[in-house]
């Protein structure tokens, strides 16, 4: 039930009528139905199974991170974060890869469906938690945040656009082709991905969603897991954090 909370706020922003907007009445009906039964639940469940079978589940994760199992939710709500033994600010998916390597197993690719599912499962352990990202905790997370913010604001690509061109405060709610521009903080983007994306009929992660905007706006698509992508995730997650958005995975998106 709790995962329904977030999408209701979204429905309010999406429930425009008239054909100027992308969601038809039929789409809206389907969306309402999916709220009852998010198709991403299956992915999250299978992610949990793979995580348990291949990686040893929560116990193994807590041990790897050096925290107690019952501290996991709060700790996960602080990702992306600096992990000393990995030498970088990393996402949950990269931690899962490192666990695999430590256990002598093959790394699951960051952009694979299995990884998206596992990531969704692990992040959902922090459901209902507020983000606990402290960008002043150490110089590494500070640098990652700064790189993320810079990446967000840097215009590039065939049309000379930056993320900020479309996601700055002064144009939130305006309409780009038939899409109202979302406020990434108020819509709690950082807290609601991984999500089921109706238009793609699959589970997508936050970094995968960033790639979608890059592709659409003709910015060169940068790889998942790069320092810039992790930085963007830090930056966008802190926007949700400032807006006190609780983590609610999996989200449900147009």
């Amino acid at each position: 039930m709790r995962k329904l909370l977030m999408p209701f706020a979204l429905i309010a922003t999406m429930a425009y009528s008239g054909e100027q907007f992308a969601m038809s009445d039929a789409d809206r009906a389907m969306y309402a139905e999916m709220l009852e039964n998010n198709p991403a639940d299956i992915y999250v469940e299978s992610g949990g199974e793979i995580f348990e079978e291949k990686l040893g589940g929560e116990e193994a994760l807590a041990k790897f991170l050096g925290v107690k199992v019952d501290e996991l939710p709060k700790y996960i709500a602080g990702f992306p974060r600096y992990i000393k033994k990995l030498g970088n600010v990393v996402g949950i998916d990269q931690v899962l890869q490192a666990m695999q390597v430590e256990q002598g197993k093959k790394m699951t690719k960051l952009k694979s469906e299995d990884m998206f599912s596992m990531l969704a499962y692990v992040k959902s352990l922090a459901n209902d938690e507020q983000f606990t990202i402290d960008i002043n905790a150490d110089e590494h997370i500070k640098a990652s945040y700064d790189l993320g913010k810079k990446t967000f604001e840097t215009p590039r690509g065939g049309r000379g656009l930056s993320c900020l061109s479309c996601h700055s405060k002064d144009i939130v709610g305006m309409v780009l082709r038939t899409q109202p521009l979302p406020d990434l903080g108020k819509s709690g983007s950082g807290a609601t991905w991984p999500a089921y994306r109706m238009t793609k009929s699959s589970l997508r992660t936050l970094q995968r969603r960033f790639q979608g905007c890059m592709k659409n706006a003709l910015l060169k698509v940068i790889p998942i897991g790069s320092k810039e992508m992790v930085g963007l995730e830090v930056y966008v997650s802190t926007l949700a954090q400032e807006n006190k958005k609780a983590i609610a995975i999996p989200g449900l998106k147009r």
Binding site: Q94, R159, G160, L218, K220, E228
Partner: protein
């Protein structure tokens, strides 16, 4: 004696596992691909001022038709109607291996932000460009050179613009910018 031995072997066992763990360098135990070079090559060049080529703005039907097509479409893959004379849906580009590959031509998708006569699903981030000639050109509020520069590189007029940059990015060539400008300032039904 026996006790001491087990203790020692325990210590040895602990030591050797630490050594083993250290042997796998955990700082390389995950993927973190480089994006900095990709970004570096993709950066937007500084704002540039342009002068309009001779005979740029025309009432030529084909020129206006091309401008209109570029204005209303995103790219050659998405565009449904047949493009007008002098405009292609696909262009040849050099691929990674040096071979030429066919890619959809990118268009302006101006309608994403601007309303104009006959627009479908227009956005409202930019001003409505309907009745542009009567409102701006005939009243001398704007001239052709302004429109040309605005489309080529809008940052000269407004450094903080939300609008796309179309000539400095080489998305279009001069002739195409002229086609688009001709369409905007043309008399429309």
């Amino acid at each position: 004696m026996y006790n001491k031995m087990t203790r020692i072997s325990c210590v040895v066992a602990v030591l050797s596992t630490t050594v083993l763990l250290n042997a796998t360098d955990m700082t390389k135990a995950y993927s973190m691909p480089d994006a900095s070079k990709l970004i570096e090559k993709d950066l937007l060049k500084p704002a540039q001022k342009y002068s309009m080529p001779k005979g740029c703005i025309s009432t030529d039907k084909d020129s206006i038709a091309r401008g209109k097509y570029i204005f209303h479409n995103l790219n050659g893959k998405k565009a449904k109607a047949t493009p007008p004379k002098g405009l292609a849906k696909f262009v040849e580009k050099k691929g990674k291996d040096g071979k030429m590959v066919k890619k959809p031509k990118q268009y302006g998708n101006c309608v994403a932000c601007h309303n104009i006569e006959g627009a479908k699903g227009a956005g409202n981030i930019g001003p409505d460009l309907s009745k542009y000639k009567a409102t701006f050109i005939d009243t001398k509020t704007r001239d052709h050179a302004f429109v040309y520069q605005k489309i080529a590189d809008p940052r000269i007029d407004n450094p903080n613009t939300h609008m796309t940059v179309n000539l400095t990015t080489k998305l279009f060539n001069e002739k195409e910018i002229c086609d688009i400008a001709s369409y905007i300032v043309s008399e429309k039904k």
